[in-house]
Subunit: 388 residues, 2 copies
DNA sequence: CTGAAAGCGCTTACAG
DNA sequence: CTGAAAGCGCTTACAG
């Protein structure tokens, strides 16, 4: 199994390649290799046609199950191609057909976006579904340079992909306006930014937020800190509005001293918790807009010597796998992210294949009660029924 | 900005596509669309040649910076192409040049592999580097069906990719033997499975394990539980061997009742901790082979009412971002996963471009001390110097 | 029912 | 220094 370099001429050094590595991404060094250096070709349609004694067109039609080909010819050709171990060159197929059967997943320009289990679950659903439908998945990150160089359109124009799934979007993403179903099919995953009216598949944040708030209110909590994220994110706004409305329903006036941006990170969640607690030392619960911020908040509370949930209850949003393993385990809203990724992929592919209907789907969410929540310290004094 | 479906004929429903969705992945439905349905083409070399009044070959050479073209022609053609907003069709380029400038990342067939921050960090480094070098990244998961259908070779044969990065590998991955640098360039990331002698770039597990063990031993720990993972993983074996040798150096006999497989998951870590603790209620520390198992173990200890680190110290391995935010924050070995992903990508691309040398690199690791470790309960009775 | 031919959009020897 | 031509490996009208 030892792999030796047998001097077959495939190892010519590329003087220019190292210089280019740090500059413009360019494949000129590859494209300028002499033809004899190329990986050897496999069996193609012409080989098959020769062996089966038919035309290239016939072979092609057999492989594409074109019904115009007779049973006998079909069988004969199929057998030959199987025996030859033929594998169609997808570059040629795509060049001819104008379809690539590749999808791009566009991740946001956020540190550790790849290492974030939220995106990971979505991606997992996307990849599983894409694979089943015969599509490949390409990863891109929407860094400033990526957008400025308009690479989000270039991947279409240069025939890398047939469609793109946008994750982690918000209303500042002006580039979303560039996507138009006809030449640039795109679908927003788990969000619905108002910057552009695009196809989207998302979790039901409204219902999830309602469940977690009703639960906290029923436990007697009234002074509830709320760690949210940038207001330019539609889902964050939705949860924020539910927070406002549910409190109002229980006769609690909206008070911005309970609110803080936690930037969807552990650090941000900890900082936000600290800020809210300074202003409102009397709070009895903290509701976070995602699990990472909730975990950051719990970490801070632990540091401050506060006991969760005895002193303060904490809730998350996402139900990442690992939320069940922090101490105490986290009460949170379960988001079916895998399913959302999977359905989003289905819908995008349908759109690519010409389905005219716009896509706007909401998937159910539900509350998962664990150990980070308990009755409010002052529950006896609270009313347990909504005022409305 | 409303996107209407203007009946331009691009939305013909595909009767057959829904039936196929659940069966054989096939793009026959796409490939059989009539030509008029296709997305309209952009500007190509021929358009440019016509406008610039030169041949297609000349335009091609200009764009590839072929030095044989005169200054004047080059400038003229370049200007024309810029004005036309020309973007080369990469399918045609690749079909002609035989290079795709796409890399595959092969993830293991593990539940939540995508949502695992360990793979996420590696992937992040891979994507950043690939993008800089003008490569695209495609994701694949090595499910049984994927390997059985030999898709790990098909992605090369059908010209999807030029090379593959293998993550999460172990010695049972027989398919690794199929990769040969010449037709199938592959590089193993953060491991070195003995099943095949392949290029690899990995963290220095030996040094990391030595640091964490020396640290625990210096704190007076002698009865140290070890939560490891399958013995068919080279890196796990390395850590295991260090555990054995460091303990021996301090005069502690190897005792398998301290050892348990934790399967690299939180659940597995919790289970393993429980099992070890049942056999060895006298242990004072638990060393885990990764952060997730350590976190699972801490969760169990918390459940059992044991205090970490007062009763039992716990250490991890990875230093995932979130290890700093569990309670207590986790002492662990920092693995430079982003860097490993990045270097691995560099090396694979060099190999694709013909570099003959084999790749075998180790990247430094270091211990990060946080709050999950403390002096052993019985530290006074322990010796603090190695016996050797 | 099948074949010869044109075309997808590039790159690269080969001439001149 | 530049162009005409062949080729990469497919698909698909167009004939017959």
């Amino acid at each position: 199994m030892r792999q030796t370099n047998d001097g077959n001429g495939d190892h010519r050094p590329f003087a220019e390649s190292s210089a280019q590595n740090e500059g413009e991404p360019s494949n000129a060094s590859l494209l300028s290799r002499s033809r004899t250096d190329r990986p050897s070709r496999g069996v193609n349609l012409r080989d098959g046609a020769r062996v089966a004694d038919v035309s290239v067109a016939t072979v092609s039609m057999v492989l594409n199950n074109n019904p115009r080909i007779s049973r006998t010819t079909h069988a004969k050709v199929q057998r030959v191609m199987d025996k030859l171990g033929y594998q169609p060159n997808r570059l040629a197929q795509s060049l001819s057909s104008r379809y690539t059967c590749v999808l791009a997943v566009l991740l946001p320009d956020v540190r550790h976006a790849f290492a974030d289990a939220y995106f990971g679950e979505l991606l997992s659903g996307v990849c599983e579904r894409a694979q089943r439908l015969g599509y490949k998945v390409m990863i891109e990150q929407a860094k400033p340079a990526f957008i400025e160089e308009r690479k989000h359109l270039e991947i279409f124009d240069r025939r890398y992909v047939d469609g793109v799934l946008c994750l982690g979007t918000n209303d500042t993403n002006e580039f979303l306006k560039d996507f138009d179903p006809t030449p640039y099919p795109a679908l927003v995953v788990d969000n619905n930014p108002i910057v552009a009216e695009l196809d989207h598949v998302m979790c039901d944040y409204e219902s999830g937020a309602t469940q977690v708030l009703n639960y906290l209110l029923q436990l007697g909590h009234r002074r509830i800190g709320f760690i949210t994220a940038a207001n330019e994110i539609t889902t964050a706004r939705t949860v924020h509005n539910v927070y406002r409305r549910r409190l109002a329903a229980f006769g609690v006036a909206y008070d911005s001293s309970f609110i803080e941006d936690g930037k969807f990170t552990e650090e941000g969640g900890a900082e936000a918790a600290r800020a809210i607690l300074e202003r409102r030392p009397d709070l009895t619960a903290i509701m976070a807009g995602n699990d990472k911020m909730a975990i950051g908040a719990m970490h801070l509370l632990h540091r401050m010597g506060k006991d969760v949930p005895r002193d303060i209850s904490v809730t998350g949003f996402d139900d990442l796998h690992h939320a069940a393993f922090v101490n105490p385990s986290l009460t949170t809203v379960h988001l079916p992210l895998y399913q959302v990724g999977s359905i989003a992929t289905d819908r995008l592919i349908e759109r690519i294949q010409g389905r005219p209907e716009r896509v706007a789907e909401k998937i159910n969410t539900h509350l998962v009660v664990r150990d980070s929540t308990a009755m409010a310290r002052d529950a006896s004094r609270a009313t347990f029924e909504p005022a409305d």
